[in-house]
């Protein structure tokens, strides 16, 4: 018995061993599926009879029948094709009529009217207008009542501009009117018809506006990764090393790694988290201005100007349901992407959001683009500096025609220039100058802008390049009119009094080709803040820096002629006509406002700097010039709303300029004479 017991026990033991060996390993294999045998994923099968399968459509499906194509039903809603009458917007003229305010006129309304009146859009007749603009009142006391104007016509071709979020629903039947309002809810927004505006603070500047606050391209290595928008306003800066999720209500965060900055109006962080539920918050614009990359969590409102602005280049629209995933993605984002997003926020802020005027013009420009169709701004013009407000589609729709996009386009400039010589009232035909300029190997043509009362001479000097005389009508601003005769990208603007040598022209042009968006000039001025007068002033005295170049001898892109004539407010152009010195200042302001960069100075021979008249020839009393000039710069600065001029401390010289080496080595040796 004992033996049998022992035997059976041993048997049982050995059998259980077998069991373990046989059983455990396969069981393990089943129980731990984390290390499966590498096997090909089981894909969609390859059918034996693929050849026999029928196509999804038969020819008759594609042909359809001659049924009446019924208009697509649309339940009373609007889209561009059905609700906007483009027949009133003939040609390139996009005219806007602004309704006068009903009742007491608000300051905003007043300034808007004034601004539009000076712009290229303005018309004073509602019948010839393509778009009728109705500025909704922000007067809370009176409710949201709006008087329906006479020309309402069901709202057709009307734009209801609501710069501040509506405190109550629209009282007028909107009908076919385009609604432009701040942070419109996604559900009621009609894409391609309505325009989404940014939510502007009450004290947003009307014109000019604060520049972006980004001072570095790349973030400081020790700056916080995240700033969180707080519901009561302000920002909460999360620590740089916050690995815990920073969402309130989602998880708790180590209190040591954060510093609350109550009332921080401007976030100092790389990313700014903005919840999508509170359309009333101003966080989005604050982040843009600060150069803090907005991370929008499931926004329930349409992003401003989303029709044209590619927000994926400047913001991250993430799903609020995946906070940890978003955080991980932000932490791992490659520096190149962070760099690009940061810069884009600043560009967008400066181009479209920094002032009320820009917001309104952007809205109009979007509607104009819809009308223009194929000749509207290409997307690149909207989404890269200097932005669509400064790149007019009436000039060209091809980005490589503009001075800004050559690198992005991989295109090249035409290696020639047109010399445009302005002959003022008292001037003699500049025969010597024509010879010198036409002698340049890069000169394509000489254009004489004859503004003198005397008739132009019948005979001009023989030149190697064609010479054309254009009637200048005596107006100073005509200097910068986009004459169709200008056939090259580069323009060399000259006065009859200028004196340049061929060598100077050659070198300046070669330099300009490296900086086609800037002005390249010989004589410079610098602006300064006059503490005593509390105003801007400028001087032609020799200084260590400069911010303007004299257009009596300067290279620039012909596009600036178009911009000067079509985008500057009328008041400023009139100012230039009345005070001829101003035309230089104005042109410099314009180019600086577009490029945000200083002009470029190239060397010129010494005596010219001193002999140069302070005012443009044609002005009768040069002695009055300094005072007039001062007034000019302050008036122009007021017209722009800010001071765009940027100073430079360098001059570009030929590589061997004035070096103690043999003159024979030097390509531009004539530059050093005198």
């Amino acid at each position: 018995m004992q033996l049998w017991r022992r035997k059976s026990l041993w048997l049982a033991l050995s059998a259980s061993w077998l069991l373990i060996l046989l059983g455990v390993f396969p069981l393990l294999r089943v129980a731990v599926p984390t290390k499966p045998q590498p096997r090909a994923p089981l894909g969609w099968p390859q059918w034996l009879d693929t050849e026999l399968l029928q196509g999804f459509s038969q020819p008759e499906d594609l042909l359809e029948d001659d049924t009446q194509p019924s208009p697509v039903p649309h339940k009373g809603s609007c889209d561009w094709g059905t609700c906007f009458d483009t027949s009133k917007c003939r040609g390139s003229d996009f005219k806007v009529f602004v309704y006068p305010a009903a009742g007491p006129i608000s300051e905003m309304h007043c300034r808007l009217l004034a601004s539009l009146e000076g712009s290229r859009y303005h018309t004073s007749s509602p019948t010839e207008a393509c778009l009728l603009l109705l500025l909704s009142s922000n007067n809370h006391a009176r409710g949201c009542s709006m008087t329906v104007p006479l020309e309402w016509n069901g709202g057709r071709n009307h734009l209801l501009l609501h710069l501040h979020p509506a405190p109550c629903p629209w009282t007028v039947q909107l009908g076919q009117a385009i609604v432009a309002e701040a942070n419109p809810p996604v559900n009621t927004f009609r894409p391609g018809f309505d325009v989404a505006l940014p939510l502007l603070p009450d004290n947003h500047p009307f014109r000019g506006g604060a520049p972006g606050q980004l001072q570095r391209h790349s973030p400081h290595p020790r700056v916080a990764l995240l700033a969180l928008a707080q519901e009561r306003g302000g920002w909460h800066i999360a620590g740089t090393n916050s690995s815990a999720c920073p969402w309130a209500g989602h998880c708790e965060q180590d209190p040591g790694s954060k510093q609350t900055q109550p009332g921080t109006a401007i976030p100092n962080a790389t990313f700014c988290l903005i919840p999508g539920r509170h359309p009333g918050a101003l966080h989005f614009l604050q982040a843009l201005q600060a150069g803090c990359i907005p991370v929008l969590l499931s926004p329930e409102w349409e992003l401003p100007f989303s029709e044209v602005i590619d927000w994926t280049k400047a913001a991250i629209i993430a799903d609020e349901r995946l906070p940890l995933q978003v955080l991980a993605a932000l932490q791992e984002m490659p520096p190149s992407k962070v760099l690009a997003l940061r810069q884009q926020t600043q560009f967008l802020w400066d181009a479209y959001f920094s002032s009320v005027e820009k917001v309104i013009y952007t809205t109009l420009e979007i509607i104009q683009d819809r009308i223009l169709g194929a000749s509207a701004h290409p997307s690149q013009l909207w989404n890269s500096p200097p932005g669509a407000l400064l790149a007019l589609p009436t000039f060209s729709t091809n980005p490589s025609d503009f001075p800004f996009y050559h690198l992005q386009q991989g295109s090249h400039l035409v290696g020639r220039f047109s010399a445009l010589i302005w002959v003022g009232a008292l001037s003699q035909p500049p025969l010597k100058l024509i010879q010198a300029v036409a002698g340049s190997q890069y000169c394509a043509q000489v254009l004489i802008l004859w503004s003198s009362e005397r008739p132009p001479p019948l005979k001009w000097p023989e030149t190697a390049v064609p010479l054309t005389v254009i009637d200048g009508h005596g107006k100073v601003s005509a200097r910068f009119f986009p004459y169709s005769a200008i056939s090259t990208d580069a323009v060399l603007s000259l006065d009859a009094h200028s004196s340049l040598s061929t060598s100077e022209v050659d070198f300046a042009f070669v330099v300009w080709q490296s900086f086609p968006e800037r002005m390249v000039g010989f004589l410079t001025w610098s602006h300064f803040w006059d503490e005593a007068r509390g105003d801007w002033g400028y001087t032609a005295e020799k200084a260590n820096e400069f911010s303007m170049v004299h257009t009596s001898a300067a290279f620039y892109h012909r596009y600036y002629h178009t911009l000067f004539t079509h985008s500057l407010p009328k008041a400023l152009r009139t100012l230039a006509d009345e005070t001829p010195t101003c035309v230089d200042v104005l042109m410099n302001f314009l180019v600086a406002a577009v490029t945000k960069l200083p002009p470029i100075k190239v060397p010129c021979r010494k005596q010219q700097q001193e002999a140069r008249p302070l005012v443009a020839p044609g002005a009768a009393k040069p002695k009055l010039a300094p005072l007039a000039g001062r007034d000019c710069i302050s008036q122009v600065a007021a017209g722009f709303g800010h001071m765009p001029l940027v100073s430079s401390r360098l001059r570009l010289d030929p590589v061997l300029f004035k070096d103690p080496v043999s003159v024979l080595r030097k390509k531009y040796r004539h530059l050093e004479k005198g």
Partner: protein, 718 residues
Amino acid sequence: MCASVKYNIRGPALIPRMKTKHRIYYITLFSIVLLGLIATGMFQFWPHSIESSSDWNVEKRSIRDVPVVHLPADSPVPERGDLSCRMHTCFDVYRCGFNPKNKIKVYIYALKKYVDDLGVPVGNTISREYNELLTAISDSDYYTDDISRACLFVPSIDVLNQNTLRIKETAQALAQLSRWDRGTNHLLFNMLPGGPPDYNTALDVPRDRALLAGGGFSTWTYRQGYDVSIPVYSPLSAEVNLPEKGPGLRQYFLLSSQMGLHAEYREDLEALQAKHGNSVLVLDKCTNLSEGVVSIRKRCHKHQVFDYPQVLQEATFCVVLRGARLGQAVLSDVLRAGCVPVIIADSYVLPFSEVLDWKRASVMVPEDKMSEVYSILQSTPQRQIEEMQRQARWFWEAYFQSIKAIALATLQIINDRIYPYAAISYEDWNDPPAVKWSSVSNPLFLPLIPPQSQGFTAIVLTYDRVESLFRVITEVSKVPSLSKLLVVWNNQNKNPPEESLWPKIRVPLKVVRTAENKLSNRFFPYDEIETEAVLAIDDDIIMLTSDELQFGYEVWREFPDRLVGYPGRLHLWDHEMSKWKYESEWTNEVSMVLTGAAFYHKYFNYLYTYKMPGDIKNWVDAHMNCEDIAMNFLVANITGKAVIKVTPRKKFKCPECTAIDGLSLDQTHMVERSECINKFASVFGTMPLKVVEHRADPVLYKDDFPEKLKSFPNIGSL
């Protein structure tokens, strides 16, 4: 093995206690063990269900053998589509979870044949195109066969053409899918929606929350940011071989090739033809052709017969007019022919309009402006037409050409919504390869002059020339804008001098020791660099004056995206040898600056260390030379801009090395440097260096002006 030893040890110890146990106990134990053995054996040798199913799948099967599913007449029907659906309301993003590759996982349901109670099929089992589409998804990176890990589900129920299916029954079939859950995260593909008489612009099959990739959406049915608008595939894409034709003006300015147009539209078009003569051609189906000829491939104008789609290549603009449906397969044919589509279909949501910029490839004309089409088109400049033709062809190649292209673009769009931070950019979607190649996107594109207060960090690379190093430190520390000094100690065999021996300077001085003596260490993006501006300076550059360095920094501020250096060098094409040559003679041109002393943005350190193309970085470290040329190449290539040479400085004279600065050494040096240029040019695949004829000097440099009033009076000479 370990376990068995334990057991044996424990075994004998157990036996004495067993004595008292009952006999039945052993019998029970024995039988349990025996049963276990048998069970294990069975488990071992039983065919595994998973493996068997894979065998079943891999083997080629016939469509006719797919399992049949009977749908009871009263099985549930999903709700109609919810028009308010958006990704963050109707899409279950949790299923997609965290994914290091940022790629969604797509599951395809197995193919089944659905029949109703009477055994009548619900629709075509599967069409050729839908089979191709599912094959394409299955072959892509998105595919998963694990239903529990999938983020997106694609039913194998074919709804490409609404005409081939029964609406209610198809909806019932969808509703009984195993993970249907109101259609959440399900994607349906439909190209021909609606049917007579009213031709809805979206699929009529009730589908609840399912996403619809549809051809022919109108703005009223399209849920922006949720649905995907796709093309109507043209079967001719695969059937006809049509060689590419370059852009340019063609025989016909405007062509209409569609058959079965509504009479009113046809009248409008024919009026255009009457007005503009031979430049407009309006074609129709051929009525008098003999039987047997494929009429879909022929078009007629009066008695003239044209081959289709070849005739599209003879036209500059081609009309794509809506029929009863908004989406038309002819769009695909037109794009392929490089003909600019003139789309006349109000409220039509163009294919992939979420990502494709159709303004670049087409002209949209409102239906009521049809009579003015010709004049609208005529105002388009020639260059723009050619651009549009190229773009049209590129759209076809990338997104219309095959069912696969359509399927992958659709999934990419959905993927980009779920992983927005890894989304493909506008340029990636829209720029044709030729543009992508030639364009430069400057990483520092924002025109921004950094404030002077930021200052710069000087990085001195040194090995063991301590005395010279200390002199450099002392000199550089005199520059007003210096904010920090970083010494990169590249000598592993020797410790840097003690702290007390270093010169006392007004800014923080930090020594970084490196692990290996490599030239690239000078371009490493050290965390210690807090300023954007970096001054790389060798440990023997003592001739640069404080004014010169400060001016260099000022110049960098005006050109923060460039290399700003002192001595310039030039690359030249040697016609005899047919290769590049390095030039250090006193030339009138500059294309490189030496980084023995140069200002540049810290970001370029990151690029040099992590993004240098090819093996250049290793090559430089191995040769212990040309790191400066590599940096010049890198910066010029990514910014498309030239260097800025500052001040007259032509060479760095180091007093100690004049003795060995012999002619022969100089020549081998030049040969090596030329070799570098050729090597780098071949790695970059192009010559990125830009030649300029200017240098930067202070505004009043060598001007007749009192020296003491100049900002930078002490600019050194050559």
